[in-house]
Amino acid sequence: MGFLAPALLGLAALAGVPLLVHLLRRRVARTVDFPAVRYLTRMEQEHSREMKLRHMLLLLLRILAVLALAFAAARPIARLAGIGHAPVAIAIVIDNSMSSGAVIDGRAVLDDLRGDARALLGDLTAADRAWIVTADGRVTGGPLTALADAVDGLVPLGGRGDLGAATRRAAALTASGAPRARVVALVSDGQVNSFSGAADSLVALGDVPLVALLRSHGPMRNRAVVAAGAEPARWTPTGNVTFAIASPDSAPWRVTLDGRTVARGTAAAASVETPVRVAQRLGSSSTGWVRGSVELDTDELRGDDVRWFAVRVAPPPTVAVRTEAGPFLSAALATLLEEKRLARGGEGTPGTVTVSSADAAGLRGPVLLAAPSDPVRVGEANRTLARLGIPWRFGAIARDLVLTRADSALNEVPVRLRYPLMRSPGNASSAASDTLAMAGGAPWAVAGPDYVLVASPLEPDATDLPVRASFVPWLLDALSRRLGSDGALIEAHPGQALDGFASSTGLERPDGSLIPLTGDRLTAPNTPGVYYTRRDDVRTGALVINPEPSESDLSSSEAADGGMMARVTGRSITTETDAARWRTRILDNAIGRTLIPPLLVLALLALLLEAWFSRERGAASADGSTKSRAKRVTPSSRAA
């Protein structure tokens, strides 16, 4: 038994009032002259036992009424056998991931899920507390009508969402509904991807029971574009579009650039795990950021029939190569120049990046600099950095073998000689995003507005980077995006948390409207498409939102890993496939009911009894006196 408003239990102290009054009556301070005391005495002699019983009964009835009202005010709930249910704190998790947008027999799966949720809301009462939690983690609370409206307004997400996080959040929400019986109700299409992923591979619910309704459906023929991208990052103005298509049969595809179809074809049948990969060499007549898509004919699940990509179309970056850059850097740049990925420019020409060793004299930004080969030249190199306004300095030489740590191609690169980078005095608070890689606990590669700086000479004796296959693409990326005007290309899934937007002022939607950005973090929009980051009126990068490829696999979770519920742990995890049984099972977790109505009835009954007994006693006294009068006709002496 619990109380929804336990503070009001203090009202039970009022039960002491009738008791206090009763006791105080025994200590009467007021004395009144009353000649007819002999009548009172006689009355007591005749009615003493009845009066004591009546007083006691009235006292008990009054105390009972006060206690019942106080307990009712505290809104007690109890698990009692019988019909109805005690108030529940229920969080309904609706899996509105992209797969819920599939249409089966002319009806969207999400419509069924919404219907199940609405039916469950219909079983709830005002004493219950409920929330709607969607797969993207959005929470709706409030009265049942508001929740029903929220359910009606649900649309499929553009991606998988994070059902695990949503379920964990739902379980946490129910805690605020205590002492109601807590329960998490999950309604899902049971798609194999529902609970997958590293972050939510295991959902621990503890004591909160979970009752899941997995709506099974037959096998679906889903065609999907599971990957799409442009290579290289900058087209000059040609490049490749590579994409992957999964389809149970041959599927016609088309590629568009800026809304114009530029290629068509047909892909053979393939599964999601081993899709057909297609590469198309294309050229763009537009320049700047170009929005592209790979499209299939619409089928039951339309969310994965289009996949977006973005490419920067511009002349190749221009570079000026100093001899101090060393043979490996010079050779890599010569290759890129030969392939026309780069163009040679004059040092000091606007937009031309100078590639050199940091100890070279007369450098002007933008620059891509490596540490000097000769330790003696480190001082000269630091003076060059100071002259260029670069807030980093080379530290003392370190010759131990370390591996770099980075999120890019610079990860796990062996380094044998390095000059750990240190912030120059007065620049200690620069953003951490300037660091491209760490080595031995110190920055090894950093980037800024007009510079890219590597803490080792780009020679095999110092580091393996120049002899790695990833060296040339990294170099081209650094020259075009870090030092050029290409900006960043970010690929993400709907709802994914992103950061690194501190320098952006807005996000341009595909329809051209603008979302203001104020912080470093951003939650990826739910609608797939190509968005552009902007700094004022200038596009500084592209954000490409596509659904997770695994979301296109519409097979049931029961076939994988023993079902999606295997990823959920807790005291009570129940799976149902029938909606009625699902609702029954949910409310079974709160067998019993609120005790307010019976307590109010009890209080009312006590008060009615008290009133009735008082009146009835008076009438009975009058009747009794008539009868007793007849008996007392016989003379008898009565002591005062």
Binding site: L24, R25, R26, V28, A29, R30, T31, V32, D33, F34, P35, A36, V37, R38, Y39, L40, T41, R42, M43, E44, E46, H47, M51, R54, H55, R617, G618, A619, S621, A622, G624, S625, S628, R629, R632, V633, P635, S636, S637, R638, A640
Partner: protein
């Protein structure tokens, strides 16, 4: 519009208008007016007038002198003889001095005015009236007299001491029976907060001697209804007996007990041949005065 009759006015209002004697006269005047009666005439000792003789008239009342002088046969008619003797027995104990509301007369004040009116009424019809005042003992014993000055003696006795801590009703009644030598009329005015049986026994004795006995219980409305508010310790001013009670809880029982007690008095006195009535201090004096008239022909004084 006729002036209001004093015997129908509120006792407290009437008492505020004048002295006890004056009030008693108003009461009696109003009461007689209400009766529409004139003093009865009959064969008594005091001559009233002559009337022609008719066959059947008692020859003792034939006026022989006129018959001799004028040869007319007439008989003498006299005022009816004053042969009734009455005693008013008034309880002046401490409990009679109580009133439940300062706006009302105390039981004693009410009883004194009622006694004065009764006495005046009887004296006006030439009956002899006496008075016995008592509490724990006899305070005043005034034998019955028919003289006009008797009433003033009776009224003057009301100013004497009283307020004793008990009421010897039976003793007072017995004393009243002693001072009325011939069969007469005894009126007891008391709150009767005593045992009923001894009083009934004395009433039976008086009835055996030929006396008419009328017992009027003077009761304050608060004693009847117990409308006192709140829990209190109730104390008998005579016996000092105290008892806690809550009128709200016991009122019904109390009123039933009072009804029982009154019924018991009525039954006991009735069986003894006495008449019994209750007069509350908030009702006009006319109603208890009418008890002197009687409706069944028994015990009528006027």
């Amino acid at each position: 519009m006729s002036a209001p009759r004093a015997d129908q006015l509120d006792p407290a209002v009437l008492a505020a208008l004048g002295h006890l004697e004056l009030v008693a006269r108003w009461i009696v005047d109003g009461f007689i007016t209400g009766l529409h009666r004139s003093p009865r005439k009959g064969f008594s000792v005091e001559f009233a007038e002559h009337r022609p003789y008719q066959p059947g008239d008692d020859l003792r009342y034939l006026d022989w002198r006129i018959a001799a002088r004028a040869d007319r046969w007439v008989v003498k008619q006299f005022e009816e003889e004053t042969n009734a003797r009455a005693v008013v027995v008034l309880d002046v104990s401490r409990s009679m001095q109580w009133t439940g509301d300062p706006a009302r007369l105390s039981k004693l004040a009410y009883a004194e005015r009622l006694a004065a009116a009764i006495a005046l009424l009887l004296i006006r019809q030439r009956d002899a009236v006496g008075l016995v005042r008592f509490d724990a003992g006899l305070r005043n014993v005034i034998p019955p007299r028919a003289q006009r000055a008797q009433w003033r003696r009776l009224v003057a006795a009301f100013d004497e001491d009283g307020g004793g801590p008990a009421s010897d009703v039976a003793g007072a009644l017995m004393q009243a029976g002693r001072i009325v030598r011939r069969p007469g009329f005894v009126v007891l005015l008391s709150d009767l907060l005593v045992d009923a049986q001894p009083v009934a026994d004395v009433a039976r004795t008086l009835r055996a001697r030929g006396h008419e006995v009328l017992v009027i219980q003077i009761m304050d409305p608060a004693e009847r209804d117990f409308l006192e508010a709140g829990e209190a310790l109730y104390r008998d001013p005579e016996s000092r007996l105290e008892l806690p009670a809550s009128p709200g809880d016991v009122r019904e029982s109390y009123q039933a007990t009072v009804r029982d007690a009154v019924a018991e008095w009525r039954a006991l006195l009735g069986s003894a041949g006495a008449r019994f009535a209750v007069a509350t201090t908030d009702e006009p004096f006319g109603r208890p005065l009418r008890l002197l008239v009687g409706s069944n022909g028994r015990g009528a004084v006027i």
